[in-house]
């Protein structure tokens, strides 16, 4: 973390000095290497000591009054674009941030080759960004949006940033409306948060989206589907513990244990978004529905809306985001014979369950070329305290985040 902070400070300095010239290596003709980067130095704290709010479910530390205030939002990214000619290019991006594992493989965000045979088609192959919402593949780039972090009720449950595979985009114009249709497929294996060395195997992953742009308006419909190929070690252990119960003690053992599996389950995410990016007004709205094909994670609806208004170099904004279950919290149908086992069996339901909303007030100040300072206040309301959802807890058993929490954040975002 110390190294990251030092690196960030150095890059922030760099951003103040290199606003003028991009780093380019000319390779003759139209070929060039473009080296660029982005980063965020973020501070965040809350009035909660024992429950930390996470930016997304892969965030290790979360925001609490006792956590390291730098860890949740700070990150640093570097990108190299090799433009070979107008048709061919290659992009590699690495990002350092707080996450379950700091391996080179995890740091590699993008690594793909892009081919544009003409203005209508683009094909990308390699490790590409997962495009499943208006800002899903730019969540690391604080400089590109108004908030300190994308609305957690919407994006917090979507920890996947990239996949290995490819996508194809077809774009065309109808009068002054630009349309593009994208389809993608591949696989991914991100580290599971809070379980050392365990990776979730996602294969296949597939989806697509339709984008419509007209003047300052942008609308998007998108879908992504995933199938999981491995079960979590904790769930596996729970399964075998339940299976070992003799029939006379617990007749539902077989059906209950079959609910604790990730392997083979399919998840689907559907979303619709609308953004207006004019000047001085800008607004963004997204609505999503997450379907989990397993017996313990509740399906949810999620939505957010943000409105900002530019006053010179400062853009204040207000936001509201919400996440609510599509059906009730799944539960163990009948009490298990042992209290320990009962607690263990309840925990996966509680850990994945969330029902909360956040009201945000903030402002972005573009005080220097390529540098932006943001301040944000969030009032998080946990509507049902029988689930931990987007929180981390230092307490055993079913966690109970406080009903209302105040989160204060400040970030310095830069690109260079």
């Amino acid at each position: 973390m110390k190294t990251l902070t030092a690196l960030l400070a150095a890059c922030g300095l760099l951003a103040t000095t290199t606003g003028q010239a991009e780093w380019n290596i000319d390779l003759g003709n139209q070929s060039r290497l473009r080296i660029s980067g982005f980063g965020t130095l973020g501070l965040a704290t809350s009035d909660q000591a024992h429950h930390a709010l996470t930016r997304d479910i892969a965030d290790q530390e979360g925001i609490s009054s006792s956590s390291l205030p730098l860890s949740t939002d700070s990150r640093l990214g570097m990108q190299i674009d090799a433009v070979i000619n107008p048709q061919w290019s290659a992009t590699v991006q690495a990002v350092l941030k707080d996450r379950p594992a700091q391996t080179i493989e995890e740091s590699l965000q993008w690594a793909f080759i892009s081919y544009r045979p003409n203005a209508n088609w683009q094909l990308r192959a390699g490790r590409v960004g997962l495009d499943m919402g208006l800002v899903s593949d730019q969540r690391n780039i604080g400089y590109s949006y108004l908030w300190v972090r994308p609305p957690i009720e919407f994006y917090g449950r979507l920890p996947l940033f990239h996949f290995n595979g490819g996508d194809v985009t077809y774009s065309f114009d109808i009068d002054d409306i630009s349309l593009s249709i994208k389809a993608f497929a591949g696989e991914a294996s991100p580290f599971y948060p809070s379980t050392p060395n365990y990776k979730i195997q996602i294969a296949p992953l597939w989806g697509g989206n339709v984008n419509l742009r007209w003047q300052d308006w942008h609308a998007q419909l998108s879908y992504v589907g995933t199938q999981l190929q491995s079960n979590h070690p904790g769930l596996q252990e729970l399964q075998s513990n339940i299976q070992q119960l003799p029939d006379f003690l617990y007749p539902d053992a077989a059906s209950l244990s079959s609910r604790y599996t990730l392997r083979g389950s399919q998840n689907h995410f559907l979303s619709a978004g609308l953004a207006y990016e004019g000047d001085p007004w800008r607004a963004q709205f997204e609505f999503g529905r997450l379907f989990h094909g397993n017996g313990f994670i509740a399906d949810v609806y999620t939505a957010y809306a943000t409105v900002g208004y530019r006053l010179g170099s400062v853009t204040p904004f207000i936001g509201y985001s919400t996440l609510w279950p599509a059906n009730g919290r799944p539960e163990v149908p009948s009490p298990l014979p042992f209290p320990d086992l009962q607690a263990a069996a309840e925990r996966p339901f509680a850990e994945s369950y969330s029902n909360q909303e956040t009201i945000s007030l903030g402002g972005r100040w573009d005080f220097y070329n390529n540098l932006a300072l943001k301040l944000q206040y969030d009032l998080v309301h946990v509507r049902n305290s029988d689930g931990i959802g987007l929180w981390r807890t230092d307490q055993d058993g079913v966690p109970q985040p406080k009903e209302f929490s105040n989160i204060f954040s400040a970030t310095l975002d830069f690109v260079f």
Binding site: T18, G19, Q20, A21, E22, N24, Q30, R32, R34, S36, F38, G77, Q79, D81, V83, P86, Q87, S89, T91, Q93, W110, F112, S114, R116, N118, A119, N120, R124, V128, G129, V135, D137, Q138, N140, I141, Y143, S144, Y145, S171, F172, D173, D176, S178, E277, D279, R310, S313, D366, N369, N370, A372, V415
Partner: protein, 139 residues
Amino acid sequence: MAKFLLLLVTLWSPTGVAQSRIAIIVHPESSFTDISRKQVVDIFMGRLLSLTNNRIPLPLDQQGGSPIRERFYEALTGRPLAQINAYWARLMFSGRATPPRMLPDSLSVLQAVSQNRDAIGYVEEDRVTPSVRVLFYLE
């Protein structure tokens, strides 16, 4: 007196100084002949589609925080530079598009445009030389 004051204000305020227009320039033999303002917006904002002929244009930008760059985007899109930078950060760092090549000053833009048939750039009106062709001017 009022006239004198007005003159003084005009001379002193940085925007009031009689500013030259900005010329959108291409190679004299460029195939981009009648490009509309919207097409220039598209080219500089990474949307190449609306061009009818199949040549992919090579837009040339000026250095990051330079006054001419600020004026160019303000005149072309009505948006402040910070918003343009944020827009490009989104496209570039999500790997969707690479921003226009940035050159250090108007002289290098003139030189590059005069040497490349697909190039399109912008310079102050009074910097234009016969080695390039002006598509139109931005006020």
